[in-house]
Symmetry: C2
Subunit: 330 residues, 2 copies
């Protein structure tokens, strides 16, 4: 089965190859009956245009690449969804490659997208600083970083303000009348954790002296780590227990909640609980979990707009938003 090209279509429709190409690309400039004839020929022959040749000649790929740490992570999944919606609007498609925090794979995908002539690349970097960016940007493919601090370097980026998020959570707890607040999470070398803790401190200071803020470190931001922390914490005599907990993410919060419920503590009456990320599951925990939502889709959409030159800001920071559910709504 020989490949079918514009040439074959042209022959079948009784027109020139140039005309076929015109039908493919700007059909409004071609007479209606010619269009019909060419379309018929295309359908009959099952012609599929060769994207490589098209792109080679035209220089555009109508494609945006995204290289993410982990596509299964709901945050990135939402970023990608937002990117797709926005790309759709500009007739682009989003192609996703997952690096799994492996620098070699990240580089391979970056090179791939660059070579394939993607019109832009959205990157959540596996390592800091990202290796090849200078080269790639130089080659002419714009890159936007997602949720990575540009640290002085002036690379375009979109991010969520985790400090603000931490402050948001804690001032919400304070506003609900809580005074002895615990922060559960770790390790603090993860920037997101550190920033949220910083925000928590800021909110506590802002409230004045009668708010206590205590830090409960966990070795990871997982359910099991959260549960262990919760078990520790609930063993304290009641007067020395916090009356509210802010967890570095929702998984930790779920673990803490398990421990508290099993120990018979009432949420939120005895202890209020708030997480971070607003994962799907947050609404479905035993006591629906309050959380801080990151506008992930907006991040993705904005990144794509920046890539395609429809938004000429160079670095955008989004504000997280509070989602109040039962676990703090006593």
């Amino acid at each position: 089965m020989a490949r079918i090209g514009v040439r074959d279509v042209a022959r079948a429709a009784g027109v020139s190859v140039g005309t076929v190409s015109h039908v493919l690309n700007h059909r409004e400039k071609v007479a209606a009956d010619t269009v019909a004839r060419v379309d018929a020929a295309i359908a009959e022959l099952g012609f599929v245009r060769n994207g490589a040749a098209r792109q080679l000649r035209s220089g555009r790929s109508l494609t945006v690449g995204a290289v993410v740490l982990d596509a299964a992570n709901p945050f990135f999944a939402d970023v990608i969804r937002g990117a797709e919606e926005q790309a759709d609007a500009s007739e682009h498609a989003v192609l996703v490659g997952t690096s799994g925090a492996d620098e070699a794979r990240e580089r391979r995908y970056l090179d791939l997208f660059s070579e394939q002539g993607a019109d832009g690349i959205l990157l959540s970097p596996a390592a800091w600083p990202p290796q090849r960016l200078a080269q790639i940007a130089k080659r002419g493919t714009p890159v936007v970083l997602v949720d990575a601090q540009p640290e002085g370097s002036a690379l375009p980026s979109v991010a969520v303000d985790d400090v603000a998020g931490g402050a948001l959570a804690v001032s919400h707890l304070i506003g609900a009348g809580r005074r002895r607040i615990g922060f559960v999470g770790g390790p603090h070398r993860i920037r997101q954790v550190a920033d949220r803790w910083t925000g928590a401190q800021q909110a506590a200071e802002l409230a004045g002296g009668n708010v206590e803020l205590e830090r409960f470190d966990t070795p990871a931001t997982t359910v099991l780590a959260g549960r262990a922390a919760g078990e520790q914490l609930i063993m304290r005599p009641a007067p020395r227990r916090p009356d509210a907990l802010f967890c570095a993410n929702d998984l930790v919060a779920v673990g803490v909640m398990q421990a508290l419920v099993l120990a018979g503590a009432a949420i939120p009456d005895d202890i209020a609980l708030i997480g971070y990320d607003d994962i799907d599951f947050a609404a479905a925990t035993m006591v629906a979990l309050s959380s801080v939502r990151q506008p992930a889709r907006e991040l993705g959409a904005t990144a794509v707009r920046m890539l395609l030159g429809e938004d000429d800001r160079t670095s955008v920071t989004f504000a997280p938003e509070l989602v109040v559910r039962e676990s703090t709504d006593g």
Copy 2:
């Protein structure tokens, strides 16, 4: 900044373009010092090869496309991971597009991958039967379906045997001495749910007359639906309660577990509980959840091997496997 091509590299290195291309593609056939000179020129000029031209000429793209319903779904995420690992081994990259169950988007991605000359496409179809497959296969891009029943049509596919999975779960419960078993899930028009229920029935029949199997339908396979079902169920007087529950998936099982725990039932002593899918979270529930694991990575890896012609089976069905944890290990 004019684009830099092999021509420029050749000039800078003092060789012909043919030689540059050889260095790029089979450097072992080129003298060592020439390689060095060309590499230096490439680095200095920041040359990035034009993938479109390369592909146009060579016909191969070293790319495999995957079109999935939802990349955030852990099952598909694992399929993709498996596909990536396998593709890696063959110097290929996996590009992912998410259709979100939208047929138009699915078609767009299929067309895109087909036009881009992907060496194969891995598809979890949004609708049945998939629309364009005939065309695409005809054009020469092999397609393998993931987790979709080929229903007579002889399309290549990889899948997990859900009937076997259902049987596996229920015979495990029976083996643990349970006799009054409930199946929680729905709606039954979802093939996976129906198949698992079928498997459950088969296992019950196999065990003879002294096993009762009852069906508890839910409107969806979600945590909340599971919790509602669990609450209903636990309100029955103890003698009329099942002593074991098999849930159509882990989310439902989590919901059921919440209801049982809140009602004070002991798991697994009063009621054993087993889910399906073995999501990450299964090990981190209040009582660690037994489940049926689907070999998702193997699915992805096998699909890629089939696409690249390294495995000439046309349709492969995998057996699920049992993961026993506390919730059935009384």
